[in-house]
């Protein structure tokens, strides 16, 4: 019972704030609602017994990436952008196509859920010491991708510094 309440609460929160992210006129408000959506997702991770991922989401996404976003928004916040047209010229076409994509995927899941074993999840205890389990998988099977990810971060860091430098 508590499980259901938690899940549907966070799901509703995530979807509502996601909609507000793309519809708000003010970028700062968009960013705030994106933070809410990310934290709601973190709550869903917690409900899925993924504690480590929950805290990674909070620290990295909400505490790291979003601070970066808010920081940049404040650096270059333009009052003019509040009075400009917010949607581009082909917005109706984009909306129709995106909704069509959504409808397709909905049908796919609705049809496919009888075929796939989407019913009963494995018992929660299988993933119990979440941190240890993730660490073991990450540093044994996925060692190489992990190293590649670190190189990706290094490249991104250098790239960001080069991009944001005054005169190239």
């Amino acid at each position: 019972m508590l499980d259901q309440i938690v899940f549907y609460f966070f799901a509703a929160l995530a979807v509502i704030s996601a909609v507000l992210v793309v519809t708000r006129r003010n970028i700062v408000q968009s960013a705030i609602f994106l933070i809410t959506a990310l934290l709601a997702t973190a709550g869903i991770f917690l409900q899925l017994h993924a504690e480590f991922l929950f805290i990674v989401q909070v620290i990295l996404y909400a505490g790291g990436i979003m601070v970066l976003f808010v920081f940049v928004i404040m650096l270059i916040n333009l009052d003019v952008s509040l009075h400009q047209v917010q949607f581009n010229r082909q917005w109706w076409l984009g909306l129709v196509l995106a909704l069509a994509l959504g409808a397709q995927l909905t049908v796919a899941i609705a049809v496919g859920r009888s075929g796939l074993p989407l019913g009963e999840p494995a018992p929660a205890t299988m993933l119990e010491p979440s941190t240890e389990l993730v660490g073991k998988v990450l540093f044994s099977e996925y060692m190489l991708p992990f190293e590649i990810a670190s190189i990706l971060l290094l490249v991104a860091m250098i790239g960001a510094v080069v991009m944001a430098k005054k005169k190239v």
């Binding site: 793309v22 994106l34 017994h49 991922l53 940049v72 581009n88 998988v137 490249v155 510094v161």
Partner: protein, 100 residues
């Protein structure tokens, strides 16, 4: 117990909203934020399947995606700052220097 398909529907909803944001908004920062939403939706899927199967590999992939999102945000915001410095605008459809 919540069936896994509900997680899929939730993730689908977030993903679609993200796509709508990317294809309809003009502001570059909001487009970047919508991409974050889409990545986030994928994460929900991965973790839900991970729970279904009972293995931690989905978590590992979600961590990779978050790493990727961090890299993308850093580079993307760097580009936005550089662009803003040159053109004094944040609108995506005015990014047309390469268009003839």
């Amino acid at each position: 117990m919540i069936p896994t398909s509900h997680y899929l529907f939730l993730s689908l909803g977030l993903f679609t909203v993200g796509v709508i944001g990317v294809v309809t908004r003009r502001n570059v920062i909001i487009i970047l934020m919508s991409i974050e939403l889409m990545l986030n939706a994928v994460n929900i899927n991965l973790v839900a399947f991970s729970r279904l199967v009972g293995s931690a590999e989905g978590h590992v992939f979600a961590i990779f995606i978050i790493t990727d999102a961090a890299a993308e945000a850093a580079v993307g915001l760097g580009i936005i700052i550089a662009f803003f410095r040159n053109r004094e605008t944040l609108l995506g459809d005015e990014m047309d220097l390469l268009k003839w």
